[in-house]
Symmetry: C2
Subunit: 334 residues, 2 copies
Amino acid sequence: MPVRVVCYGLGPIGVGIARMAASRSNVAIVGAIDIDPQKAGQSLAVLLGSSAPALSADILVSNDAAETLASAKPDVVLHATSSSLAAVRDQLVQIAGAGAHVISTCEELSFPWTAQPQLAADLDAAARQHGVALMGTGINPGYAMDALPLMLTAPCAAVRSVRVLRVVDAAQRRGPLQRKVGAGLTPEQFEAKVHAGSVRHVGLPESLHMLATGLGWQLDRSDNMIAAVLAEQPYTTEFVQVAAGQVAGVRQVARGFIGEREVLSLELRMYVGAPDPQDTVDIEGDPPVHMRITGGLHGDVATAAIAVNAIPSVMRAAPGLASMRDVPLVHFFR
Amino acid sequence: MPVRVVCYGLGPIGVGIARMAASRSNVAIVGAIDIDPQKAGQSLAVLLGSSAPALSADILVSNDAAETLASAKPDVVLHATSSSLAAVRDQLVQIAGAGAHVISTCEELSFPWTAQPQLAADLDAAARQHGVALMGTGINPGYAMDALPLMLTAPCAAVRSVRVLRVVDAAQRRGPLQRKVGAGLTPEQFEAKVHAGSVRHVGLPESLHMLATGLGWQLDRSDNMIAAVLAEQPYTTEFVQVAAGQVAGVRQVARGFIGEREVLSLELRMYVGAPDPQDTVDIEGDPPVHMRITGGLHGDVATAAIAVNAIPSVMRAAPGLASMRDVPLVHFFR
């Protein structure tokens, strides 16, 4: 019997997840939810386009979550509506109340215990009450800068520090991402957007806390810095033009300290023309571990893939709020 | 409260595990078992030497497993007595019967369902009956050529093949390992030992089956080949002398096929003087993933570390026989 899945949230990430879910023979999409009036009432198959051949034509996108959950009776809800945990709290509680496991791309859900302990406790209680597991995941946070580095410490007798570097050439990614990282802005425009909170990568502190908690480290201090990377020469992509001296994208660094010692460093470089895309983990330990994924992990495909690939793991997890370190190993399944 | 641990089997691997367990503040060694008459009755602290300062002086190695398990009441037994599942079956059943979780370095236990389904079913039933989890792990099998490659498929929408290459320079490892891979033998002596089964790396088929099962692939055919690597020039280590033309070590390859297509390839090169030690995983998929750990993962330290680091994961796992893909993420803990 295929797993019954409802897709909740059909923005770019949610559509990617729904397409991938529709392609899996062991997954059946039984409902779809989005509050966008442009989408509600539409056929999901039409919305996803030709890349979702296996989809039943009579699944309509609904803006009534309660009704859809009650009638579709999903095993798992794939949720992709917002980065903010406060914004999605009620949606998640409602899904748990319907008895469905939740996999969400809400970045702040990936490891909420440190930054938002009360929300985490509420969600854990709701999930336990209804016997379901609830997890936030994606490529970052959820994998490249937290779960994978943690897994790489398994062969270590001792760990003194973990440094993670993720380099993404935004020019190879979709237009919204290029605009999200500020490509083509002036430095002044970028600063204004940072202050307004509209240029940011959500999730780096969550990754930092997952690593610290997993390793058993009590951090004395942590920080999180975002800065523009300016183009040294003009750069033109399919979507944006960047003049020399304009913003090419962002560099963001989150660090954790024990005393004055920097024990965790997570650096994300995401800009058009970024050379040598990669995911690198350097563990100073006994033995040391130096891992590199050449070319890096493709963020858009990977977030959708991880959300879908997490289905079996979340269904086997203990009830409650979980992170990627709590559930059975997430990997591709057919 | 520290986790109560009994160390069962105090050969080179078991001693390494016991030393590492003794170094962890959240682990308390409460008993030790070995059938070797030279060791029974000895103080574990003396056997482990000065590198285990935290160990109580009054823990004596016992050759009476039943008595030790009953009196020490461990939460977890760290088991390292044999590579053969048939040989350790009764030991594992006895431990489960005493109500303790088991982490074992028995290579054939790492993924026994395909090759030894009846033994696997027996052990699963015993573990469930007593509400404990039972898992085989180590660096290889258990991590480098199965769990880690599986984890690396999480960002993939599709996987067409997985190739794993592990290169170990045996010259940098302990003497027994150099002799185990046949360093210094003539090609004829090597062949004789392969036929006698005394030169082999146990676990490659188990890794292959963990990957195939995890990915949902039904293999039509698999093979497992071992061959000598001959020294092109003389090589001298602390432990062996290898003349040109003599055996430097082994190359072993396990492959899995669907139809005529090679979908899995696990290659292990372990010989004195092996250039460029590494652990490499190449996933042909959407997107592809190319991962490399430069220098490779150090086998002796890593197997002990993984066994100890798996303690929290096994204690949180569902009762029954488990593999590294079934338990919460294994990572270093303090």
